[in-house]
Symmetry: C2
Subunit: 391 residues, 2 copies
């Protein structure tokens, strides 16, 4: 187990009807806010009206910016930064899923920074200050409601890059599972794939003696797998929505990082996919992970054996680890398929003409991953494995 620090001061407010508390919580953060949201589904659902009512009750003023979209765009972030400066906003409230929250985080760190906000995403600047941020979550997936990171797409060159700082951790996050009832099955599935991927990126680590962190990760994965299945049949199942929402937060709030190195190669590979083709992040991850696993497992098969036994109930085969791991990867693929997720470029209807370009862009800053260090040719090999159905 490695030394670690864990500091997570986001106040989580979880459960039915909790969006009614948004006025009281926001009042601790600011007097004039930017209300940031996505494509307008919060207006259809009535959530927008409830949030506005709660803000008015506390005398909080607001300006608003909708339009944050999946793979949130740098141009909207820049618009938000300008708005906040002009309107002298002192807090941001994000109402939506990971894209809205990530966009809000980028705005929050851009406002007090003199240079261009993209600097933070290309390593040219470090976050020294940020506006405080609150969240009402509607779509459990990205874990951004309790994380330190943000991922933004620069549409000038279709680069998707991440930035992070403890200053970006939201002050509060309101998690009402009921708000996710109306998510279409495919979005629910993409969210599930995303939160599972957040755990995979941490779990597949060469750091030994992380028994508790491993077991907590397995516990979270088993919960997600069980309740994702329920939601495919019963989208308005409160208990299942609640388990998935809380699991999505814990998957990415740092708890499952404690004591070990994490990998993040598959996220890096997926960012090239969703930057170029605008595919849902979770779908891109589901498409890539089985191939990544097949490519890297020989580095440390024991970790995969433990994973497939404890999480996927594969019978141990100490004599033939390869067989055991192949069976495990099959079960993972079967699970993804049961959620309607694509298992290859082919199934996702993506072209396979840009693999070389993506592999090049993905490793332009150096090799990726820590479980196994991946160079351009490794990334290309994994993209190729993932490109056809029978990979």
């Amino acid at each position: 187990m490695d030394n670690f620090e864990y500091y997570n001061p986001t106040k989580i407010i979880f459960g039915k009807g909790t969006e009614a508390q948004v006025g009281a919580e926001t009042a601790h953060c600011g007097r004039k806010i930017l209300l940031h949201y996505g494509g307008g589904s919060i207006k259809k659902s009535g959530l927008y009206d409830r949030v506005i009512r709660a803000l008015k009750e506390r005398g909080i003023k607001w300006v608003e910016l909708g339009g944050a979209q999946p793979n949130p765009r740098l141009s909207l972030v820049r618009t938000g930064i300008e708005m906040c400066r002009k309107e002298e906003v002192d807090c941001i409230l994000a109402v939506g899923g990971g894209s809205v929250i990530d966009s809000a985080k980028a705005i929050a760190m851009g406002v007090p920074y003199a240079g261009d906000v993209w600097d933070f995403f290309v390593g040219k600047a470090e976050v020294k200050a940020a506006l405080p941020l609150g969240v009402v979550l509607t779509f459990p997936a990205a874990g951004s409601e309790n994380s330190t990171g943000t991922v933004i797409t620069n549409e000038d060159e279709w680069f998707k890059r991440s930035a992070g700082s403890p200053l970006l951790r939201p002050k509060f996050a309101i998690l009402n599972p009921e708000l996710s009832y109306t998510l279409p099955a495919y979005q629910t599935a993409c969210g599930v794939a995303d939160m599972m991927a957040h755990i995979f990126e941490r779990y597949f680590s060469k750091t030994e003696d992380v028994d508790l962190t491993d077991r907590l990760s397995e516990a979270t994965l088993k919960t997600i797998i069980k309740h994702a299945g329920i939601l495919m049949k019963e989208p308005a199942h409160y208990a299942a929505r609640a388990e998935i929402m809380w699991a999505g937060t814990l998957a990415h709030n740092g708890l499952l990082d404690t004591g070990r190195a994490s990998d993040w190669a598959t996220h890096a590979m997926e960012h090239e996919l969703s930057a170029l083709y605008d595919i849902a992040h979770g779908a891109g991850l589901a498409l890539l992970f089985p191939s990544w696993m097949r490519y890297v497992y020989p580095v440390f098969p024991a970790k995969f054996m433990q994973f497939f036994e404890r999480v996927w109930d594969v019978e141990p085969d100490y004599v033939h680890p390869d067989r055991m791991i192949a069976e495990g990867i099959d079960r993972l693929k079967t699970f993804y398929r049961s959620l309607g997720l694509p298992l290859s470029f082919q199934e996702a209807k993506l072209p396979v003409t840009d693999l070389d370009e993506m592999a090049e862009k993905c490793t332009r800053g150096g090799p990726i991953g820590s479980f196994k260090t991946l160079y351009k040719e490794d990334v290309l090999a994994i993209y190729r494995m993932a490109s056809s159905l029978h990979a």
Copy 2:
């Protein structure tokens, strides 16, 4: 799953040599501190000198108060409060285990309060302010390093009572597993029993649909059980000390409470034992829990079946739940025995003459527990079951 709030802003600094950071962390909290510790083992081990050096490097002034003992006493708390007021201390640093930290918390809330600090423990006052508190942990057990509570013994009448407030959560907690290498086996075992009990009190809940919280709890218990066994043979096994220390913190920091009612009857029954006989809290809990389980399981056998299958690998017996649960309780007792813990009043060399008095004191404020509500006669029945070896 019930609605919940979870807010845990303690900064955890975990790993080898981390006590070197105590000066830098304390400097964020105050300029003149009360250094609070126990019986002097920190002087023998050299930890005291390292802490003092780190404080001096940051120019932090201190006054000190040693002598906090297991089942920490109200009289020392009162002495500490007077010292802090007289010396105009603005922060408390607790170096030790749960007793030292609990004593420090009681001092922290007593200083700004005009009345007598015992008021907080008998429900006469609510905590409105407290000095900030930092911790260097030496003995993983109580989880006080990241909890909101404190338990103090009033030696006038040998009452042991708890108080709590979010204001008592330490600002930082430094957890170096190496500091626990020298703990005697019996103390290690008592610590293990204490942290397991913290999980039991939360796990045995009638609240349904808490799958993630259940699985996280089981993950933590399995980790504790495995590594406690290692420590009985190898007390200076870093990985095992690290797993136990981190598990002890997570067992009691609120994460495993999320979404459900908790019980706490066994803690209340144990407090009477340790108040009267000054037995180690963990030993008292080990002695009582099997009898509590046997007494209450008919209320909701399914929860115990899940527990004994998932945590203790008991083969499911859906047709004969009683047999399955009896087997599980036997395994728990066998485990406690393997750690050298007493399984009855008899084994702990405690008299059985005060059972009625203890049952009366324990329920003076009303019945206890939420899994099953226990009145005086129930508590007495459990004490009786626990009084002889073959209970």
